[in-house]
Symmetry: D4
Subunit: 217 residues, 8 copies
Amino acid sequence: RRIGLPEAVFCAGKTAEQIAIAAEAGRTAHGRCLLTRLDTAMLAALPSGLRTALDHDPLSRTAVLGDWPAVRDEGSVAVVTGGTADLPVAGEVARTLRFAGCAATVFADVGVAGLWRLLEIQERLAAFPVVILVAGMEGALFTVAGGLLPGLLIAVPTAVGYGIATGGHTALNAALASCAPGLLVTNIDNGYGAACAALRALALPADAGRESPAPQT
Amino acid sequence: RRIGLPEAVFCAGKTAEQIAIAAEAGRTAHGRCLLTRLDTAMLAALPSGLRTALDHDPLSRTAVLGDWPAVRDEGSVAVVTGGTADLPVAGEVARTLRFAGCAATVFADVGVAGLWRLLEIQERLAAFPVVILVAGMEGALFTVAGGLLPGLLIAVPTAVGYGIATGGHTALNAALASCAPGLLVTNIDNGYGAACAALRALALPADAGRESPAPQT
Amino acid sequence: RRIGLPEAVFCAGKTAEQIAIAAEAGRTAHGRCLLTRLDTAMLAALPSGLRTALDHDPLSRTAVLGDWPAVRDEGSVAVVTGGTADLPVAGEVARTLRFAGCAATVFADVGVAGLWRLLEIQERLAAFPVVILVAGMEGALFTVAGGLLPGLLIAVPTAVGYGIATGGHTALNAALASCAPGLLVTNIDNGYGAACAALRALALPADAGRESPAPQT
Amino acid sequence: RRIGLPEAVFCAGKTAEQIAIAAEAGRTAHGRCLLTRLDTAMLAALPSGLRTALDHDPLSRTAVLGDWPAVRDEGSVAVVTGGTADLPVAGEVARTLRFAGCAATVFADVGVAGLWRLLEIQERLAAFPVVILVAGMEGALFTVAGGLLPGLLIAVPTAVGYGIATGGHTALNAALASCAPGLLVTNIDNGYGAACAALRALALPADAGRESPAPQT
Amino acid sequence: RRIGLPEAVFCAGKTAEQIAIAAEAGRTAHGRCLLTRLDTAMLAALPSGLRTALDHDPLSRTAVLGDWPAVRDEGSVAVVTGGTADLPVAGEVARTLRFAGCAATVFADVGVAGLWRLLEIQERLAAFPVVILVAGMEGALFTVAGGLLPGLLIAVPTAVGYGIATGGHTALNAALASCAPGLLVTNIDNGYGAACAALRALALPADAGRESPAPQT
Amino acid sequence: RRIGLPEAVFCAGKTAEQIAIAAEAGRTAHGRCLLTRLDTAMLAALPSGLRTALDHDPLSRTAVLGDWPAVRDEGSVAVVTGGTADLPVAGEVARTLRFAGCAATVFADVGVAGLWRLLEIQERLAAFPVVILVAGMEGALFTVAGGLLPGLLIAVPTAVGYGIATGGHTALNAALASCAPGLLVTNIDNGYGAACAALRALALPADAGRESPAPQT
Amino acid sequence: RRIGLPEAVFCAGKTAEQIAIAAEAGRTAHGRCLLTRLDTAMLAALPSGLRTALDHDPLSRTAVLGDWPAVRDEGSVAVVTGGTADLPVAGEVARTLRFAGCAATVFADVGVAGLWRLLEIQERLAAFPVVILVAGMEGALFTVAGGLLPGLLIAVPTAVGYGIATGGHTALNAALASCAPGLLVTNIDNGYGAACAALRALALPADAGRESPAPQT
Amino acid sequence: RRIGLPEAVFCAGKTAEQIAIAAEAGRTAHGRCLLTRLDTAMLAALPSGLRTALDHDPLSRTAVLGDWPAVRDEGSVAVVTGGTADLPVAGEVARTLRFAGCAATVFADVGVAGLWRLLEIQERLAAFPVVILVAGMEGALFTVAGGLLPGLLIAVPTAVGYGIATGGHTALNAALASCAPGLLVTNIDNGYGAACAALRALALPADAGRESPAPQT
Ligand SMILES: Nc1ncnc2c1ncn2[C@@H]1O[C@H](COP(=O)(O)O)[C@@H](O)[C@H]1O
Ligand SMILES: Nc1ncnc2c1ncn2[C@@H]1O[C@H](COP(=O)(O)O)[C@@H](O)[C@H]1O
Ligand SMILES: Nc1ncnc2c1ncn2[C@@H]1O[C@H](COP(=O)(O)O)[C@@H](O)[C@H]1O
Ligand SMILES: Nc1ncnc2c1ncn2[C@@H]1O[C@H](COP(=O)(O)O)[C@@H](O)[C@H]1O
Ligand SMILES: [Mg+2]
Ligand SMILES: [Mg+2]
Ligand SMILES: [Mg+2]
Ligand SMILES: [Mg+2]
Ligand SMILES: [Mg+2]
Ligand SMILES: [Mg+2]
Ligand SMILES: [Mg+2]
Ligand SMILES: [Mg+2]
């Protein structure tokens, strides 16, 4: 009945009180709890006991309640970003993975309009069984990486861009329509989902494990 | 330079002559060639020598030129469809996998409006490392399976439906927006891509292998 | 000429003065008046006499001017939500029904990515002649419930979600395209409308009754 | 596990062979079977034994295999169409209802650009507990009827129109955005779904009844 | 070279300085100038000399610099609104007309979900050569009025509504797709344009007249 | 109750039998009947008695049953087209007007990418109280004419174009967003509606007159 | 008044008779005429005198009436396609250029999912002052080429693809949102327009020259 | 490997710290650096050393760190705007060009609803090899200028407008669908891109030149 992915409270659209209840429930059940989409304004509105207990990262808007688990995997997952503005989403990927005991390697600012940046790290990237690609604008990174790398590829389109790229739909559609074979895609900005998919592929459930309550709180 | 996924000629939008040239080139280079989106009208328009040499399946619109490889994997991939009308896309998945030596198991007509159909096979499905979900309409299958199964999940939305579901966009968006954690998504009707992604996850390259020309011609 | 549904003032897009005039007119005509989409900022801007006379609920953004009617129906309507963030809309449903004398039962956080939550209450839900389903994201709850429950089903998609789910369009389209037979749908976040539809089905007009002026002012 | 709505085979997107198998399976299980979206071209492609056994109606594209049940309800459901081109969808509504033993009354060509047509039948319509409104173009009928009639109102937008109205999206959106309180909506052209919803409201399951297999084949 | 419609400065997207320059230029050339989309925040940011010289109306966000002209027409134009929230746009219509010497009659809150409100004023409306219809949501008012009134009908959809009606697109599309013959449509919220169209139909140019500089500043 | 615009049967989406009944009914009531959207394939499918009685124009897809009325107006309406491919819609405008006794003047192929074509006829056009502009693609004609001409301007966007212009939505949106003041717009390809609007402006009802049944059947 | 680009008749949406008249007019005025979007069905419908006089290319659907001009430029323009299915549009580019005396070099099937294909020709491409990029699907070619090449870059998105890529909108949006600096874009499939833009950049007017009538008839 | 276009830091979506690092890196590598989309709020948040070193222009939201280069080109590029509200984007064009040593001439407020404004400067504009057209709303300027001017034409649609024109999509689509031959288009509001394209056409690389690091930072 349970599938063992990291517990997380999605904070957007919840009141401070609802977040506090869900986070405590998560910690009670599993010893720790991940919070996503927790911006600094909402952090400030949380009860002070909870607030000071959180390890919060403002760029990725994630926080952890309870201790981080030991690293059980290193070298399986690479996270590649097209630009500086994609770092918040890449941070959500890396922190969710780390919360499940998987230490990912982040390669930032590898946009293909400057192709050599990708070619310089191509061999290192080819060694990862799972590569998570995080890019906005027109998402050309997805296709170029898709043609160069043999591992499982997960495209995370981001809401980075303006005009026709507003909201991330152009990057999303480009990922879906990519002519690179076997590229898989998540919702726009869904770093949490990409991390969970990598854990599924690596069969690396969170230590709350298969007996844990459901992932949704 | 090559990433070892199954050679395929995507036939839609090509002339009979272009298809024939590409298919022969594929066979020359790798001993065999897969053709996708080859409907019976175009099959009839191919040069007769090529036409009779093809192993064509009208429902999935796929054909193979040359011998099928031996099965190298069985039991790793399940393909689940929501309805009867999703079978052409499921067939593209299964035939692409089989072309790369991977024998998948197909579970047809498991739509969640009749939930027991999924619950009856839940345990069998939970044993597969990779489950490919093929569904149109509102794509609720993606989320329900996503909450029940621990393996890598690949959603293939199909262009099955009418009105607001025309073209498959509702199923696609539902897959992307799913609250099941770690669900990954392909373009609408992209059975070939889902199969390639499964092969990436299983590290099961086609025997044409890493020295092969680019996968799509 | 009148059809006897609960009087309500829809406050979004009105000035404080317009709201005050409409609410007083409603009370004069029917003895009581329901206000919807009244957020705390606008509440604070109302004339203080009116403000203190209102029974306001900040989560559902509803308020009642005048006395609540007695309960005339209990056990006919269930309201089911997919997640915590759907509670404001569920509150609009329940408070509108209660304003018409119908006490609904709310079942919160029954998202189908954790299927057992729905299965555990399935039998209780099956006893309700009308079930109102409130969900955002990909709205898979609508279809799963639609296949399990025999009563009249009303889907209220909510604007909960991000990326492709922004604004609630994915949940709306999923409800409309559902392969569960006989599911009916309202506009995104339209809790008031779902409650009115339930009252139509139950033939339970507000006691302001058939002589009342038009329902929305 | 079963909810007792009329068995139906949705024929669009199925091969002749798939339709034949599904229809025979439906008759075997329930004594009769409804087929929807069966156009005359597909009818001609069915095995002749099946074809001659069907009671097919070309305008509504519905057919029945086996005997019609006796009428168990009359006077509960009215079906109102905005124009002549909406009659195919209205026919799908009425034939699905009749297949479940409910004889509906159809009022054709009651578009509100000629308002007197609706006003002339307003009193008769007000006597029906359920009124199904079938309209394309801008769907103004939905709102006008919604303000005049007290019963349960089900709007079925149709794909009738051109330019901005192509595909029925304008009528659909108008139904959803209607300021008539308590109007409920189905997918574009979903006459079958509207009929099932009416049966849910009337608690009038098909005689195959609650013990029957699931509605989806 | 000039067509004699009222000079107006469209203030949205302009800086305070740009507005001030354009308004003074308009007054210099024509003796008076109309400003549209001038909200109270921007009003406060204008140079105080200009600000105090303006006759500003906060609801319609319009202002006049210079004297109003005498009324040259009365009884030719009616402005009808569906709801209270449409009044700002109706105000832009009426103030633009008045700036050109045409005194319009406004009929507020005539939504067709309460049909009698329109029927009660039908005869009065039928006497106007030009009727401007201002409505949001599903815009059913456009079609009903279009079937009842013989004059020139101008539909102004408004950005009033939520969910599928957000931004006014549903009302716009309903106006365009209306089956009422001969209904004409403006952009969403374009009260200024509807007023100019009425002046074209009435051949009632502003007194700056045909010799005036171009309408755009 | 009737507003006196030309009787017309809109043939798209109707069966041959439905068209025949509606056309005869129209002639019986008013002595003549206009049919629109009647293509040559449907013409051939009509009962031969009706077919030979029709005055059919294949380019505009219009037909008249019964005698044409005498011309009662000449010189009031100009119809301007951007290109050759807009002539079918311009024909629907002109034939509908002529059916109501109004003889319009057509100016073909006046696209503004060759601006002199418009400037050469500018003075002649300025003399018409009503100018109907028919254009597809990007619809720049609407704005340029709107800045040059003083009469009532009706833009009819056409479904002429490809890529981003497919279906006429770009021309429609350009007409709506035009910065030419007072431009009014119809649905894409709605030549009939533009003609009816011109008749409203000119107060030139068809001779079937105010006692006639509703205009569209 | 004339700007000297190649005369062309756009045949889609025109009748055979209209095409014949426009082509003859073009030849009379300039000695030759280019026809675009002339498919083989319409070619067969042309008057036989014209048909046999045309130099028609079925793949690009272009034809020339009259003699081709001498080559006046070679080496200035490269045309690069992502895949085989883009060749019709690339043909429209090359034949339009050749009609104006400019001989372009076509590089076919250079999709970036097989990056080496582009890198192998990078140096040759860098020597062209103008490079026209023709690609469908997700259009990643545009960005990669944009980061490697110094010349003027014109992206022509094509309607090649399925699902989310249907109609070419994904390629179009990717071109517009590209983070390669200074990439310019045409409408989907607009090979003619890209060729004209190249001619503008090269100041290479057709020999029909500046005195010619307007370019599109 | 480098193509020699002006270095720029795109500031939207970056933190103050990220902007500071990128700007310093740009100056270190090339002696100067351009910052775009730097609004006054972010300017205030920059480290004071950087802030005071910047030459910032609030209207265009651009800033330069380091010395401006000498002018190397004058008279090659004209920038034309439709309205006052397009000036910020025109400023981004002109400042980017100036940063690369190219002094452009700006012609403001030349909207074609007042056609003489364009005709008065037509001859001057015809002398420029490159004309950049900046317009929002319905973008009719693009087509009219496209038919009058022989140079390379670059359309920059702006997000100026409301209703159907919100976000600039109508202007963008009009530019793409323009029937003026050879018009090229950038993303909405992409003044930087238009300037880079002009530099490509003029082969006027920034003096950081071909040896410079990649344009993206
Ligand atoms: N950033 C995120 N994006 C998408 N889904 C998330 C994210 N964070 C958490 N979730 C999912 O949302 C669930 C919690 O949702 P809720 O019950 O609304 O807090 C988690 O268990 C995850 O499945
Ligand atoms: N016209 C229709 N529109 C929508 N749903 C339908 C229609 N006809 C049948 N269905 C549904 O589709 C199910 C059968 O789907 P299938 O298994 O694909 O034949 C039926 O049991 C109904 O729930
Ligand atoms: N509220 C409005 N909506 C649409 N167009 C307007 C509005 N107000 C003014 N205009 C038009 O915009 C022109 C002025 O535009 P601008 O030069 O940007 O100030 C006026 O002459 C009108 O044609
Ligand atoms: N206003 C702009 N619009 C579009 N692209 C820009 C703009 N400004 C800078 N860029 C591009 O973005 C690059 C820098 O992006 P980043 O690395 O995110 O700072 C520049 O080198 C340009 O290619
Ligand atoms: Mg939850
Ligand atoms: Mg290829
Ligand atoms: Mg009201
Ligand atoms: Mg089924
Ligand atoms: Mg202006
Ligand atoms: Mg009718
Ligand atoms: Mg032409
Ligand atoms: Mg960067």
